[in-house]
């Protein structure tokens, strides 16, 4: 299991989650957890997803990035280890 963290940051609008979830469903990525919050008027969402063992993270990350550009938000898709390393001893 390759756990990835997807973050979406930008102005809140209708259909952000729908758009991201549709893409993930089409690419066989399973969502494990979603949390969201509004900071200073900005929409912040974090998804923990399971991309399976063989997922091409580079491709997912690139395509999610372009979806973000389409709808005017910033989408990152990163391996969870970078956060674990930084915030857990």
């Amino acid at each position: 299991m390759k756990k990835l963290i997807i973050t979406v940051v930008g102005h809140d609008k209708v259909g952000i989650i729908a758009k991201v979830c549709t893409y993930l469903a089409e690419n066989g990525v399973n969502i494990l957890d979603i949390s969201q919050t509004i900071v200073d008027g900005y929409f912040n969402m974090m998804m923990v997803v399971d991309a399976g063992r063989t997922a091409d993270v580079t491709k997912l990350s690139k395509e999610l990035g372009s979806i973000g550009e389409e709808i005017g938000v910033v989408i990152h898709c990163q391996h969870e280890d970078i956060f674990n390393m930084m915030h857990r001893v």
Binding site: I5, T7, V9, D33, S35, Q36, T37, V39, N44, M46, V48, V57, T58, S61, K62, V74, H76, C77, Q78, H79, E80, D81, I82, F83, N84, M85, M86, H87, R88
Partner: protein
């Protein structure tokens, strides 16, 4: 499980505060390339580098994409070439040939710099060392990506003043041969005392003879992250200040450790060390000088600068050491003038002088770095500046270095543009009193008394 605020904190560091991994540097031993025939050596070197480093850039990009953290440079360091070319090179031009083949190999594998056109002469120079040193000006003028360094002293051996004298002349000659590009060649040439074998940072990187066949070193960065963290504790006491730097350094270094482990695993090359340096770039907000200002100085160079830098350097190490399994290299805050907007501003405002920079190098790595000086500075004066800096390293048992650029045709106050990560700098004044008689004495300065520890 990781929570949203932690994830957002990390991404803010990357997106807004210039957190990055400054370099993955692949150290490659060229000892097995030695031959008495120059063409065979050239062939061996090219093949060894292009085979060992074949996947370096691709793997770097892969890690970058998967973890979402920029890896700014992918680089190579090699065994000091004076050791590799000794049997084959009869003239300095033979060494220039080796520099060309290194440049070609660097271009083939797609790295932006390759370090190791170097000689280690802290106690004396062999014929081979001398030939290489005389080849440096031409080698740096005809190649694009090759970096050179010469270690002229150490705490254990003292300082080889003949080499110091020669390097003053070599720096002048390098400046002259690259005068069309604001003497850019000198930006690729470092003179060291106590040079580390495992430094991943250019221009001083080389793969020491104590290292294995190939090894991955990683240099982290992130002055912007430290600066932002400190902006939240303005007015607090030194305990809070130091704790904040330490915690931030830990987080930054952990990213480096992750990248190093991954690069090592994917390239099937052992992990060497993490270099815990705060390396600035000319980008706004990526400045060590701005951290010093955040600590409480109006400008870098104001009274208190050396103390502030000392505590910064120490806390970065204390935070970083726990974050990584092996640390090494230079590990300290870098204070290059041309590569740090805050430093450039301080020089232009008249707050920062060469003498204050020299004092600052007593408490941090690495030395007088990327400083443009007038083109008419004499070779002896440059040697004198080198000798001073080497003495600081020798006596304090630390690495010190000198990377000065005597810009041909330019005088004090004029601007010099090096481009890219090398940045730009105002030409700084140099003390004009002569040190000729001192430099011309010849011989060695003995090792200091506290080096005799056996």
């Amino acid at each position: 499980m990781i929570n949203i605020s932690e994830v957002l904190e990390t991404n803010k560091m990357i997106d807004q505060e210039n957190l990055d991994v400054r370099t993955i540097t692949l150290g490659i031993s060229l000892m097995d390339c030695i031959d008495s025939d120059l063409d065979t050596v050239k062939k061996n070197i090219y093949e060894k580098i292009t085979t060992t480093a074949r996947d370096l850039v691709a793997v770097g990009q892969e890690i970058e994409a998967e973890y979402g953290v920029p890896i700014v440079n992918k680089r190579i360091s090699v065994t000091p070439v004076a050791l590799v070319g000794g049997a084959a090179c009869r003239t300095s031009d033979d060494y220039v040939e080796l520099a060309k083949i290194l440049d070609q190999a660097a271009k083939t594998v797609g790295v932006n710099f390759l370090g190791g056109f170097s000689a280690l002469v802290s106690k004396g120079m062999t014929k081979s060392d001398e030939l290489l040193m005389h080849a440096i000006p031409k080698a740096l003028a005809v190649t694009e990506r090759v970096c050179s360094s010469v270690n002229v002293g150490s705490t254990k051996t003292g300082i080889d003043m003949d080499a110091v004298k020669l390097m003053g002349e070599i720096i002048k000659e390098t400046a002259e041969l690259t005068k069309e590009e604001d003497s850019l060649g000198c930006a690729k040439l470092v003179v060291f005392c106590n040079a580390p074998d495992d430094n991943p940072f250019m221009a001083g990187a080389f793969h020491g003879v104590t290292e294995g066949d190939a090894v991955i070193h990683v240099g982290v960065s992130g002055p912007g992250v430290v600066k932002t963290a400190l902006s939240k504790v303005r007015g607090e006491n030194f305990e809070v200040l130091c704790e904040t730097i330490k915690k931030t350094a830990f987080k930054i270094t952990r990213v480096g450790q992750l990248v190093a482990q991954e690069a090592s695993r994917r390239l099937h090359i052992p992990f060497g060390i993490i270099d815990l340096s705060l390396a600035p770039t000319p980008a706004i907000g990526d400045s060590v000088a701005e951290i010093l200002q955040e600590i409480g100085l109006e400008r870098t160079g104001a009274p208190g600068t050396t103390a502030a830098l000392a505590l910064l350097n120490d806390q970065v190490k204390k935070g970083g050491v726990m974050a990584s399994s092996y640390v090494g290299g230079l590990s300290g805050a870098f204070i290059p003038v041309s590569e740090d907007q805050g430093m450039i501003d301080a020089v232009q405002a008249g707050a920062l002088t060469l003498e204050k920079l020299e004092a600052m190098t007593c408490v941090c790595s690495v030395g007088l770095d990327m400083i443009a000086i007038p083109g008419d500075t004499t070779a002896a004066t440059i040697s004198g500046i080198i000798a001073d800096e080497m003495a600081i390293g020798m006596v304090n048992q630390k690495t010190t270095a000198v990377r000065l650029i005597p810009v041909v045709g330019k005088g004090v106050g004029e601007m010099v543009e090096f481009g890219g990560l090398l940045g730009y700098a105002p030409v700084m004044p140099v003390n004009a009193f002569s040190c000729d008689a001192f430099v011309n004495r010849g011989g060695r300065i003995p090792a200091p008394i506290h080096s005799f520890k056996n």
